[in-house]
Symmetry: C2
Subunit: 226 residues, 2 copies
């Protein structure tokens, strides 16, 4: 054994718990998305619109990560879906232990789709596997197209990148093609979707992507059980 | 900042070097595969056959990882392709620093496809990003279909799983469907290919997969340059 893993007992243990979470979610066929972005990129607004659009076809639950408040959980609760608030107590990311605990407080067998809204941060959340199926990161067009170069780990480990606040594109200096090219240079399989929660542009594509990924997880779980 | 990353300075630095490697390979459009498996699953034999099959259409280079010997590099050298041996000095995995150094010893601008053969080990190599485009892991049918449960991180982080030594399937108790199901339960995007270097079964599918992935990387690099 090498000495790095021995020294980082905390990280190793977190990896093990992430895989326990992954097994639980896999056996349930409960498709789980870890939503990550910088503060203010629009994670909670995206969640509100997505729940409103899909709640008649999919049973949705939410784990809300925040350092100290429950403001986001209060927003989500109005949509009548189960939500658990995790306060990280100053830590700038969710970890697998916190998600493990939160799973115990959700009606897992009655859910089809679980969102985990991570703490707003482009760095540390990317380093922590929570056991999710997909990582979806948001980059708003107001943040600048240099972000893939500055925060490569998150772009490298995400399955989908949502370029949000597309309605503001005429008013900012953001090269969406460059952002997409840089991001896919770090991750050749990255799906990039452009959307605006305000105008509704691109939202149908996001819902279709979620439906397809959710169906894949449900089909794999059904094949395991048969 | 949280305290885990502060404590694991070694790991953090390795991540940074991995992204330097990734940028280098991306800018060159040099498609790079990190080959990982337990000892004896057939990585070097797969490499020999792949080089023989593709060397007329793709310019191939190899980084060989081994704890102490250069036996594998000697085998590869016979095929007339550039190869660099990295001896890890007892460490059970390659790291990004070693790959960085090895890249300096290869004619990178004259290559289309770079293989990194990792140290034979199902655990630690999975924890170390080298900057590769794809992780390909081999699981021979003689090893047993319980491996995805026992070594989940490697299955979770690979893009493709090769079930090797398929010619031995009639002689062993290996449930290929179960192995595939377990592996995809950890990684819903995992491509699973079944093949035998001895009989040649499935090899064409592996070559096609490599061609497609390589073409994707080359196309992204061309788009960046234009």
């Amino acid at each position: 054994m090498h000495d790095i893993l021995t020294r980082t007992g905390v990280l190793a243990k977190s990896t093990e718990v992430a895989f326990e979470n992954r097994e639980t979610l896999r056996d349930l066929g409960l498709y789980t998305v870890n939503l990550m972005s910088a503060p203010g990129a629009g994670k909670t607004t995206l969640l509100e619109q997505t729940i409103a659009a899909l709640r008649d076809e999919l049973r949705i639950g939410v784990i809300e990560g925040d350092m100290h408040t429950r403001l986001d959980a209060d927003r989500i609760e109005r949509y009548g879906v189960p939500v658990v608030q995790v306060n990280t107590g100053g830590s700038c990311h969710l970890d697998a232990h916190q998600v493990h605990e939160a799973l115990h407080h959700l009606p897992l067998t009655e859910l089809d789709l679980l969102f985990i809204e991570n703490v707003g941060n482009l760095v540390c959340p990317a380093e922590f596997d929570l056991g999710e199926h997909d990582r979806v990161m948001l980059l708003s067009v107001t943040e600048g197209h240099d972000k893939p170069r500055k925060y490569p780990v998150m772009f490298h480990t995400a399955q989908a990148l949502l370029l949000t606040k597309l309605d503001l594109l005429p008013h900012v200096d953001f090269d969406a093609e460059a952002a997409e090219r840089e991001a896919q240079g770090l991750n050749i399989d990255l799906t990039v979707l452009r959307l605006s929660c305000r105008s509704g542009e691109g939202m149908a594509g996001w819902y279709d992507w979620l439906r397809r990924r959710r169906a894949r997880v449900a089909a794999l779980a059904a094949a395991r059980r048969s």
